[in-house]
Amino acid sequence: MIIYLKLFLEFFHIGLFSFGGGYATLPFLYHIADVQKWYTTKQLSDMIAVSSITPGPVGVNVATFAGFSTAGIQGALIATTAVILPSLIIIIIISKLLEQFRHNKYVKSVIYTLKPAGCGLLAAVGVDMFINNINICGMILLVGLFIASITEKRDPLFYLGVSALVGLIAGFFNLTG
């Protein structure tokens, strides 16, 4: 029982404090891996990979997955509900007060400071993932994708598809380390 309560609280706090979309939940999930030890960071990176290529918002997918691997179906249900609940509550309140919300100077000011903070958190996770997961072959793939990303705006699925394919080929030649 206590695990369900802990799961609920952890994921509710993710839903409440993550700024900047689905991938912004990752810093929190890595933090959970460090503190709660419900899953390892290796398991988390597999979960992120799966979540990126299955239907649904990545943030919801990865929460469902983390909940499932911690406490089965009930865990998945609790984590998904908990991660979405703060949004639901906040939006219902904001929608009622939309006009005041939009022009309040404190709200404006908090949004102004929160956005760079969310960006900084995500950048830290990106650097961390880069240091822990990238070998020479990964670096070559990354540079290739980077060049592809600056030449033209592409669908996220393009990057995931190309990387999956390159991974498959690199695995065949034992280059994935």
Partner: protein
């Protein structure tokens, strides 16, 4: 088309199913479903909900769905939209998670995951770039970015602590008349 709770659920279920590779495609998907096909809300409204969704906590795609659901049928509409957008994610993960344990040790699956891991890094990079463009508007926001970045990556500060810290800085700012901010709307 009638805006029944079931219709709202069904519409967002469809959108949730088509969301692949991150929530960033939610806006075009909702434009095609809600504005063009069903004529439930206007393009301007949708864009405003999308912008608002980015300035509050939570998953952007889900937030946009909740805003739209609320606009259509109030609180119950918001709940229907939430269930609609979450259910495909939930089902697909439960299905995949069950077979994942069986296949995770297959070499080609590991290779694919290795590749997708690199792809996710690029998506994170693009997300950071986009957030940077929207949020780093002056020296002060740049300082906040690096403060949070360093505290998080070098000192492993809990993310929630850093977010609360930024909220306090934001609340304290209006008292500091010297600092001009929030001008870009």
């Amino acid at each position: 088309m009638e805006k029944t709770l079931y219709q709202i659920f069904k519409t967002f279920f469809k959108v949730g199913t088509l969301l692949l590779g991150g929530g960033y495609v939610i806006l075009p998907l909702l434009q095609s479903e809600l504005v063009d096909k069903k004529n439930w809300i206007s393009d301007d409204e949708l864009c405003e909900y999308y912008a608002l969704s980015q300035s509050i906590p939570g998953i952007i795609a889900a937030n946009t769905a909740i805003f739209t659901g609320y606009r259509l049928r109030g609180t119950l509409g918001a709940i229907s939209a939430t269930l609609g957008i979450v259910t495909p994610a939930f089902i697909s993960i439960i299905l995949v998670a069950r077979i994942l344990e069986e296949i995770i040790n297959l070499k080609f699956i590991q290779s694919i995951f290795w590749g997708v891991g690199v792809g996710v890094l690029i998506l994170i990079f693009l997300a950071v770039k986009e957030m940077w463009r929207k949020s780093i508007v002056d020296k002060f926001t740049c300082v906040i970015f690096f403060m949070v970045f360093i505290l998080s990556s070098c000192f492993k500060a809990p993310p929630a602590t850093l977010i609360i810290l930024s909220i306090f800085i934001g609340l304290w700012l209006p008292y500091q008349n010297k600092i001009e901010h929030g001008g870009k709307e």
